[in-house]
């Protein structure tokens, strides 16, 4: 078990990130809330606890890497990076604006901390394979984490990457699937069936771990378990809720790619503020 203080700290970071996600999308008047809110807990756990990173040393060759393959969840990545100190949280208000370092989808050239340019689905796992191969070649100890959407695994390239990762025994590669069961045209099982998603990855030679993607205890334990396996890549299937944390967005495909209006923004912030207040109350118990 991970200690409760750590869990509380991460939950607090995640709710702050969620507030930034809602605010930046509201200000940008466009973007993807649903998949950002479902993925943000696993990303928070990486940047605030699990990964060996230093926001002040972006080019450390030994750093762990995170690649957001589902690039449309950029607001989740941007808010976590800002909160972690890669750049000012003020930048978040410029999401999708002209001359902003925060493009609609991540670009490695513009944003400190962004490792790979994504947005066209299906590339990120391959990119991660490349980083992992390099680490293996140079006997580096870093790990590579790749976050994919569940719908994203419709892309054929994902399976090319899956095969190459196990072929090269990339124990330093950990992929996550944000399994929220929703993609633009509907339920993933109706659009293009993915189940059994576990069997698919296992048959490709991966270690597969299935967890609750909003439970930090399970998330951190899964990352630790992934680190222990040295001769094969690990797939963590994060069972998540699209739009998690904002009542009317949860499991609502209408909020895949639509920003909240003013009323929706206010409701969302109210809900998240309440969660934050509760968590901060909890936090003082330890201090």
């Amino acid at each position: 078990m991970i200690n409760e203080k750590t869990i509380n700290r991460l939950e607090l970071s995640a709710v702050k990130a969620r507030k930034h996600i809602i605010e930046m999308l509201y200000l940008a008047k466009s973007g993807h809330p649903g998949g950002s809110l479902s993925a943000v807990d696993a990303i928070t756990a990486l940047y605030f606890e699990h990964m060996n990173i230093d926001p002040k040393d972006l080019s450390d060759p030994d750093r762990d890497r995170f690649i957001l393959s589902k690039g449309h969840a950029a607001p989740a990545l941007y808010s976590v990076l800002a909160l972690r100190g890669y750049f000012s949280v003020k930048e978040l208000k410029k999401l999708r604006c002209i001359d902003s370092m925060l493009q609609g989808h991540p670009v490695c050239l513009y944003t400190p901390g962004v490792e790979a340019s994504t947005g066209s689905l299906g590339h990120g796992l391959s990119f991660g394979v490349g980083v992992a191969l390099s680490g293996m070649l140079d006997r580096k100890s870093y790990s590579v984490f790749v976050m994919m959407g569940d719908g994203e695994t419709n892309e054929g390239q994902v399976w090319e990457a899956a095969a190459s990762a196990s072929h090269y025994k990339l124990g330093n590669l950990v992929a996550c699937i944000d399994r929220n069961f929703l993609q633009i045209d509907g339920n993933t099982e109706e659009v293009l069936r993915l189940e059994s998603i576990e069997d698919r990855w296992r048959s490709f030679g991966w270690q597969v771990i299935e967890i609750n993607g909003h439970d930090f205890n399970e998330i951190l334990q899964a990352y630790q378990q992934a680190d222990q396996i040295k001769d094969k890549p690990t797939m963590i299937i994060l069972n998540t809720v699209k739009g998690k944390g904002v009542s009317y967005m949860e499991n609502n495909i209408d909020f895949h790619g639509v920003a909240p209006n003013e009323m929706e923004y206010n409701i969302a912030m109210e809900e998240l503020n309440m969660v934050q207040k509760k968590l901060e109350g909890g936090n003082t118990l330890y201090e």
Binding site: L133, L137, Q157, S164
Partner: protein, 318 residues
């Protein structure tokens, strides 16, 4: 004409990779189940740890190369031109061009002289596809010597690059000493002339030189430019040649749309208005070709010295 010495540019690629592998320990090579044809197998044998066989999975190969480049490696990814561009356009667009990644895509089997495999394997759109991508450098070396020099340049100049060569043996044009003058982005004047300029790239440079000889006997003096770099294009040399000779022809084993001919046309149309000039493009005229012996194909599609010379004559008399 003196007897020509034939050497395969693909061997120059393989041999140069081996040489560079010694100098740059961060140089890595990827191939998609064609290492025997692309000659990356030479590198694979010498440096097995730094060679990554990706199988018949080109999209993955390009994005993996991007991941490798992000850690400071210099990845050379190779396969046939048809699979190295069209099949993986999206991967090159985002992971290489948009990200300004230091990825080197080296394609063999470009053009129609691939021959009997037919149009599915005859890549005549690759230069156009790569040229339209921001940040990409696009190269088409012409002989064994130049191929080696260009591969050296690719390894040392940062940024995403695409190079294509043909399948067949090609006559040696350059000596090792002469090729030292090569600079990416600067066309090479192979023959001087005053009546017309033939701008060629890749496999067509040798044919252009032969056309120069044919025309010389008819008292027509042609300047031959080896435009090994299609992007960034040596516009200065094109404009100078328009001014000097007044008549220009481009020749490429590629569609006349979007490749060398397209690039030169864009340059002339926008930037040259000093005096009247003639211009035409030789290449594949917006069609797929077919199976056949390379030399029969080059005759049928009018991509040899005889046809180039005839084109110049017609253009000068019109």
């Amino acid at each position: 004409m003196s007897k020509k010495i034939l050497r395969n540019p693909r061997n120059a690629y393989g041999e140069t990779l081996v040489k560079l592998g010694e100098k740059h320990d961060n140089l890595v090579v990827l191939d998609a189940d064609l290492s025997k044809s692309t000659k990356t197998i030479m590198f694979a044998k010498k440096y097995p740890d730094r060679f990554f066989e990706m199988g018949i999975a080109e999209a993955n190969m390009i994005s993996v190369a991007a991941g490798l480049a992000s850690t400071g490696k210099i990845p050379f990814a190779s396969t046939f031109a048809v699979f190295a561009t069209g099949r993986v356009y999206d991967q090159i667009r985002i992971d290489a061009a948009y990200s300004k990644a230091n990825i080197k895509i080296f394609a063999t089997h470009g053009g129609i002289s691939v021959g009997k495999d037919g149009a599915s394997h005859q890549m005549i759109e690759d230069i156009a596809l790569m040229r339209v991508l921001p940040n990409m450098t696009v190269l088409a070396p012409s002989d064994y010597t130049q191929t080696g020099k260009i591969v050296e340049n690719m390894a040392t100049i940062k940024g995403p690059m695409y190079a294509r060569i043909g399948r067949a043996d090609a006559p040696i044009i350059y000596t090792k000493d002469y090729i030292q003058h090569l600079k990416i982005g600067q066309g090479m004047i192979v023959e001087e002339g005053t009546d017309a300029t033939i701008i060629a790239c890749g496999t067509m440079v040798d044919a252009a030189i032969d056309a120069h000889q044919i025309l010389k006997k008819k008292n027509i003096s042609t300047r031959i430019i080896d435009m090994h770099t299609i992007k960034p294009l040596d516009e200065k040399l094109i404009l100078k040649s328009a001014k000097d000779t007044g008549n220009l022809v481009t020749v490429e084993e590629h569609s006349i749309i979007g490749g060398l001919g397209g690039a030169v046309a864009e340059c002339l149309a926008e930037q040259y208005s000093k005096k009247p000039y003639t211009f035409s493009r030789m290449g594949i005229h917006d069609r797929f070709c077919e199976s056949g012996e390379p030399k029969d194909l080059m005759e049928k599609y009018q991509l040899n010295a005889k046809h180039i010379a005839a084109k110049i004559e017609r253009q000068l008399s019109s």
